[in-house]
Amino acid sequence: MVESLIKLGQLATSLALVLSVVAVAGATLASLRSSPAWLRTARNALFANLALVAFGCATLVWSFATLDFSVAYVAQNSNSQLPMIYRLTAMWGAHEGSLMLWLFYLVLLSAIAVKVHWKDHPLSMPWIIATLAAIQFGFLAFIVFLSNPFLTMTPALPDGQDLNPLLQDPGLVFHPPVLYLGYVGFAVPFAFAIASLIRTHSGAEWVRAVRRWTLFAWTMLTSGILMGGFWAYYELGWGGYWAWDPVENASLMPWLTGTALLHSMMAQNKRGLFRTWNVFLVVTTFLLTLIGTFLVRSGVLTSVHAFAVDPGRGAYMLGFLTVTMVFGYGLILFRSDRLLSDALVESPYSRESAILANNVLLLVAAATVFLGTLYPLFVEAVSGERLSVGAPYFNKVVVPLMLAVVFLLGIGPSIPWRKVEARRLSTMLRKPLVGGVLAVGVALIAGVRDLLTLSAIAAVAFAFSATLADIGTGIYARRRVTGESWLRAARNVLSLGRQRFGGLIVHLGIALIGAGMIASGLFQTAVTVSLKPGDSFELAGNVITLREVSDASGSNYQGRAAILSVSRDGKPLYEMQPEKRFYTVRSMATTEIAIRSSFSGDLYMIIGEETQQGGVTIRGYWNPLVSWIWAGWVVVACGALLSLSGTSRRRVERAAAVAAPPARGVPAE
């Protein structure tokens, strides 16, 4: 019965492959012959695919839940000792299942996008459906023919090989699904952009339609990346959260271009500028999400995240990428003469040019990360020489670029569109500049002399105070006009200007994250000591004493724990218990870090080798302001939610149309 269930899952997925072809063909026919019947067929095929793929995923999850080891993928990635929660999340713990999750998101978002925009974009709809269905086809064909998670084996294994212990962590429950949702989210703007290119309607309509999709995808991508950092910080145990690992870089690239897109789309929406540039950015961002998925999943990068190594799959992925790239960029080139903007940038002192500068910096950063990640592979392929490009390089090159972006983040939102007088600009920047100078003064008094560190502190403090001043000015102005109380004025300002203030709050969160990263990256204190029970060491004003080293085993691992007590000024505060684990099924060792977070920083303890006399080596870190990064993420998420919750222009227009029915004429699109 169970075996036939997984076979049904495979059948459903194969059927979805057929229906994706039907949808592409139907949508194309619908547009060429302007046939609504074909369009409905294509739409219904996409809806059916949601049901089919959801069923396919469900059978896979069910096989994990019931530990059906006749399914090869289940046998490779779970074990009878594995706790239930990790059995369920093991579905995306390795190559085949994680692509299945990608596919599920794609069919889900396709169905939602088609449902939501069906009435508003009747002329673009065939091409939107065709594009989404074509991407579905690409993934479905890959899953069905090359990366099938439904394969069974006879005889079934008596027990599974267990999930990679690194992935047995709450981090796995959230990081990959959220990151993938961010990746796939960009498929919808991509489809809209392709449709507008094919129809040569490159005005602001598609930009308006996809503003929320882009913001949604960006928010998910940001959250996914930060959750990954959080996971690395808690699970991998090197005292940091970002290592410029190729896999991390793969997720950073679409984030950089996606951030650029989010800003330059505003210029097209408000001023009709940067049309070619925006379609270029959408196509590039989507391609980078594909590259991100494929780099990680093809195993071409050998890093902690690359679980799968299979050259045949690599060839398919490269082919799929090439087709998408040729089609996307080709279409832009082909239509480039129709993409010229009718508007002009009127002054170098304007929001437009600030956005342009932001785009240049972000794109150069993305290109640098791209080059640094892929160039070693290229060099090895052509010359056989092996080269490493790692954290010291990226810190030197990308960090200054990002600091310039943070500085712009402070200026950008306060500059008006079109033009601002230089004198007004300097009055506007006076207050935040004071903030920056004050922060640098404090740092100088504290003994910081490094130029990069000082400019980092200046940029973040400037951006933070500028954003705060922007929000404050808005509230103050409303209070003066309406005479409301501060609280009420704040509430009204936030709820009436959701897009603007949502954006400002996101900026505030980014500045917080920047502060956390600077502090923890540049002012970390580390100490490595060998302790016998009763010995102490000092770290950031805390006295840490080893009480004992004891046994700490769990259901599927054997462990050793060091019990440390922490005191400050002679007063005992709390205990910390870093552990070392050995997972028996996979015969893999992991370390469980002990972390004590506070507003000012984290104490971070790692257990090392045990010595003969019952002692142990302890590596301790003091990571200042790390919690600001996670707090900043919460602020970013709140700001994004506020901005997403804003009434869309479409709805406003529709409300206006109801109030005053317009003369019959051409549809709005």
Binding site: A243, D245, P246, S347, L361, G372, S388, L401, G534, A589
Partner: protein
């Protein structure tokens, strides 16, 4: 029960550091070990530096690093030593000479080119915009005159 409490008190007394007990401190070269170790890649691992890596090779390299620092060698000498043993691969920040040169020059060139192009574009676009504005401004008085004439 009493005995247990006594034992507890004793173990607590053992655990809380007496004011006279010296703290265990790390040897002064450790800071340098961390600094240099962060720049060296573990040659057998997947993009990890030798500090973070759990591999045997990385640990041996750390031991060598410590020994050489204790012998009073400079950072440059030590890095060169590892480079001669494992090749450029061991340097997480690629050398400017050879293949690494591209990596260091491309971002700067890109930034200059893109920044320059945008500056030029904005200048030209702003000029054009101000010219159209001027034309519009010069037309206006004429229109008003014509309007007055018509009204008359």
């Amino acid at each position: 029960m009493k005995r247990f409490a006594a034992a507890l008190a004793f173990s607590l007394a053992m655990a809380t550091p007496a004011a006279t007990a010296p703290f265990q401190t790390e040897s002064p070269v450790e800071t340098q070990v961390r600094e240099i170790g962060a720049k060296l890649r573990c040659p057998v691992c997947q993009s990890e530096n030798i500090l973070d890596s759990q591999s045997g090779t990385a640990r041996e390299m750390i031991v060598m690093l410590r020994e050489q620092l204790a012998q009073g060698r400079t950072e440059a000498e030590i890095v060169e030593y590892f480079r001669s043993r494992y090749g450029d691969y061991v340097l997480l920040s690629p050398p400017v000479a050879g293949f690494g040169g591209i990596i260091w020059t491309v971002p700067a060139v890109l930034l200059l080119l893109a920044g320059g192009a945008c500056l030029l574009l904005v200048r030209r676009s702003a000029d054009k915009a101000s010219r159209t504005n001027e034309e519009a401004n010069t037309l206006e008085p004429l229109n008003e005159q014509r309007l007055r004439r018509l009204e008359l």
